[in-house]
Amino acid sequence: MSTAVKTQKLTMVQAITDAMATMMREHDDVLVLGEDVGKNGGVFRATEGLQAEFGEQRVIDTPLAESGIIGTSIGLAMNGFRPIAEMQFLGFIYPAFNQIMTHASRIRSRTLGHFTVPMVIRAPFGAGVRAPEIHSDSVESLFTHMPGIKVVVPSNAYDAKGLLIASIEDPDPVLFLEPMRCYRSHKIEVPEDKYTVEIGKGARLQEGEDISLIAWGAMVDVVKKAAKEMEEAEGITCDVLDLRTLYPLDRDLITESVQKTGRAVIVHEAPGTGGVGNDVVSLINDTSFLHLRSPIKRVTGHDTPVPMFAIEDHYLPDAERVKQAIIDIVRF
C-alpha cells in the first residue's frame, strides 16, 4: 500500500490550467470565459485544451469587452454558475472596475446574503517580461482596498493550483493574480489530484533570524536571491515570507516572523504610495511595534507608470536594491 502522492512537473501556467480542468471535471457549474480562451487557449495558453475537453458551452470566447465579461459573469454567478473570468492582462481590467467595485464585491452585502457572487477573476500581471505598454501594471492595491473581494497571488506552480481551486470553491469573488514572470520560470512537482492552499495563509519559504523579507508574486524570486546572497556574503539570515494572499493578509505569519527577527523589509513591484506594503507596515505597527529593532523598509516600484520595457528593469525592484535595504536596516 502506497500513500505517495502522485505528482507531475508543471510550470505555473500549466498548474493553473490543471486547476481549472480539475474543478471543471468535478463541477458542471464551473465555466471559463474571456477573450481568446477557447480555441486559442488564451494568450498565455492558460486555458489550453479546456474547450476541447469541456466544449464551447463551458469554455466561452466572449466579445472583447472587459466590463461585459465581468458584468455577465456576475449574472451567471448570481444564478447558479461559478464563472472563472479571464482578463487578458490586469492592465486591461479598468473598464470592468465599476462592475467589480459597485456590484461583484458588494452584492452579498447589499442584499444581506440573498444574492452572492462566487466568481474568480484571473488576471496576468506585473512587469519584467518585455510586454507592451499597459500590460505590466501591478494594481493589486486597487482591489485590496475594495471591501468584499479577496486578492490572491501565487508565486509558484504548487500554490497556483491549490489557491486557484480554493478560489473557485470560495463563496465570494476572488481576484486571482498571476505574475507573468513566474508563468514559466520554474517547473516543480505538483500533485495530480485536487488539493487546496488556504486563502489568507502565507508561506515561510526560508527560516532566518536577522530580518523578515516579505514579498509576493514575482518579487518572491527576487527576495530569495537577495536572501541567499546576504547569507553568503554577510552571514545575515533572512526569514522569507511569501504572502500568497493580499486580502486578507496572514497576520499571524507576519507577526510571528517580525517578532522573531525584529526587522522587516517589504518588497513589491507596485508603486510605493498606496501599495499593499503600507498595510503590512501598519499591521506590524499594530502587532509588533515594541519588538522592532529598526524601522521597517519598503522596496517598491516607483510612483510612476510602469515604463516602456526598454527601461522597465530600472522600475522593478531587484536583488541589489533589496540587499541594500537589508544592510541599511541591519546596520541601523
Binding site: 461585459g68 456576475i74 449574472g75 446574503g113 479577496k150 486578507p248
Partner: protein, 355 residues
C-alpha cells in the same frame, strides 16, 4: 428611423382603440387588473413623496407618469424570472411582488430594503447607470444554459443608452442569444439633459438594428401596448429566440428626485399639459368609460383598499424599529475576514461602553 420605428399604440390619448390586434384579449378583467395595479403604483408613489416631505423617509425617486410602462411590463413576468430595476422602477418591483414595506425601508436608508421576498428574483435598484444590463444578460444566459424558459427584464432610461454597458449588454445578449428584455423607459430627460443632447438618433429602438435583434418603439403611457409588446418579447425570449429592445416613450411628471427642481431645466407648463392629455391612468379610465365599465364608486372602493394596504406598509415601515447595525459587518463575505471581525468586535465594545 422614426418612420421605420413608429410609436406603436393600442389606445390613443382619448382611450380609443387604434389597433385592434389584441382586442380579443383586452377583457374587462384584464383591464381592471391593470388599472388597479397602476393606481396602486401611483398611490404608492405619492405616498413616497409625502413621506419624504414629512421627513419620514430620505430622498425619494418619484416615477409618476411612468406607471403604464412599469406595470404593463412587469405584470407579464412569471415566478422565477429575473428583474433588474433602476432606482425609479418601484412600480415594476411592487407589481412583480416586492414588499411595499421593504420598498419604503429602502428609501429610509435601511439595508433590508434591498432584500426581495423569497422566490422573487428582484435585484436591488442599480445605481451606476446601465451596469445592470449585463447582470440581466448574465442571469438570462444562465437560465438558457440550465434549459429553463425563464427570462430577465432590465429597466433603464434614455441616458443609460450613452453608457458602454448598454452596448456591452445588448451585444453579449445578442451574441449568446440570452432571453432578456431590455426595457427602456425613454422619459425624455436624464435628470436635466434632454434626449436630443444625449444622442443624435431620434429613437432608441433603432439601436437594436446594430445587434440584429428586434427593436420595438411603443407608447409607454398606453398600458395595453406595453403589456402586449412585452409579452410578445417574452414569449420570443422564452422560446429561445433571444433578446428584444423595447423603447417605451414616456414622461416623468415630477422631479428627478425629491432633491431636484425641474423648473430649472424644463417648462412646467409642458408637464402640466402632459398630465392632462397623456396620463396613463386617465387614458385607461377613458377607455373603460368608453367600454361602459368605469364608475367612480368602483374607483373609490379600489382606492380605499389600496390606501389601507399602503397605510399598513407605512405602519410596518415605522414599526420596524432601528436598522440592524450589524448588517454592515455580517454580509461582506460569507465568513468575515479577521479585519472585519476585529472591527466588529471593537465596534461592539464601543457600543457597550456607550450604553
Amino acid at each position: 428611423m422614426e418612420v421605420q420605428f413608429p410609436i406603436k399604440q393600442i389606445l390613443n390619448e382619448d382611450g380609443v382603440v387604434v389597433n385592434s390586434e389584441f382586442e380579443n384579449e383586452m377583457t374587462e378583467s384584464l383591464t381592471k387588473e391593470l388599472y388597479i395595479k397602476m393606481l396602486r403604483a401611483r398611490m404608492f408613489d405619492r405616498k413616497g413623496v409625502n413621506l419624504q416631505r414629512q421627513g419620514r423617509i430620505g430622498t425619494y425617486v418619484p416615477f409618476e407618469g411612468q406607471e403604464a410602462a412599469q406595470v404593463g411590463s412587469s405584470v407579464v413576468l412569471k415566478e422565477g424570472d429575473w428583474m433588474f430595476p433602476t432606482y425609479r422602477d418601484h412600480a415594476a418591483t411592487l407589481t412583480y411582488g416586492h414588499s411595499a414595506r421593504n420598498l419604503f425601508l429602502y428609501w429610509k436608508g435601511y439595508p433590508i430594503g434591498c432584500v426581495p421576498p423569497e422566490g422573487k428574483n428582484i435585484f436591488p435598484p442599480a445605481v451606476p447607470i446601465a451596469s445592470q444590463l449585463l447582470h440581466a444578460t448574465g442571469t438570462a444566459w444562465a437560465e438558457k444554459m440550465k434549459g429553463t424558459d425563464r427570462c430577465s427584464i432590465v429597466y433603464f432610461g434614455d441616458g443609460a443608452t450613452s453608457e458602454g454597458d448598454f452596448h456591452e449588454g445588448l451585444n453579449f445578449a445578442s451574441v449568446f442569444n440570452a432571453p432578456v428584455i431590455f426595457f427602456n423607459q425613454n422619459n425624455g430627460f436624464a435628470i436635466s439633459v434632454p434626449m436630443e443632447k444625449q444622442m443624435k438618433t431620434k429613437t432608441i429602438a433603432q439601436k437594436a438594428v446594430a445587434y440584429d435583434i428586434p427593436g420595438v418603439r411603443i407608447d409607454g403611457n398606453d398600458i395595453f401596448v406595453v403589456y402586449f409588446e412585452t409579452k410578445k418579447a417574452m414569449d420570443h425570449a422564452r422560446s429561445g429566440n433571444g433578446p428584444t429592445l423595447i423603447e417605451a416613450v414616456t414622461y416623468r411628471y415630477g422631479a428627478h428626485t425629491t432633491a431636484d427642481d425641474p423648473s430649472k431645466y424644463r417648462d412646467q407648463e409642458e408637464a402640466k399639459r402632459r398630465r392632462e392629455t397623456t396620463d396613463p391612468l386617465l387614458r385607461l379610465e377613458r377607455y373603460m368609460t368608453n367600454q361602459g365599465y368605469f364608475d367612480e364608486a368602483w374607483k373609490t372602493q379600489v382606492e380605499e383598499e389600496i390606501t389601507k394596504e399602503i397605510e399598513q406598509a407605512v405602519e410596518d415601515m415605522e414599526a420596524f424599529g432601528p436598522a440592524e447595525i450589524t448588517d454592515m459587518f455580517n454580509h461582506v463575505f460569507h465568513t468575515p475576514t479577521w479585519s472585519i471581525q476585529e472591527q466588529f468586535e471593537s465596534f461592539q465594545s464601543r457600543m457597550k461602553e456607550e450604553v
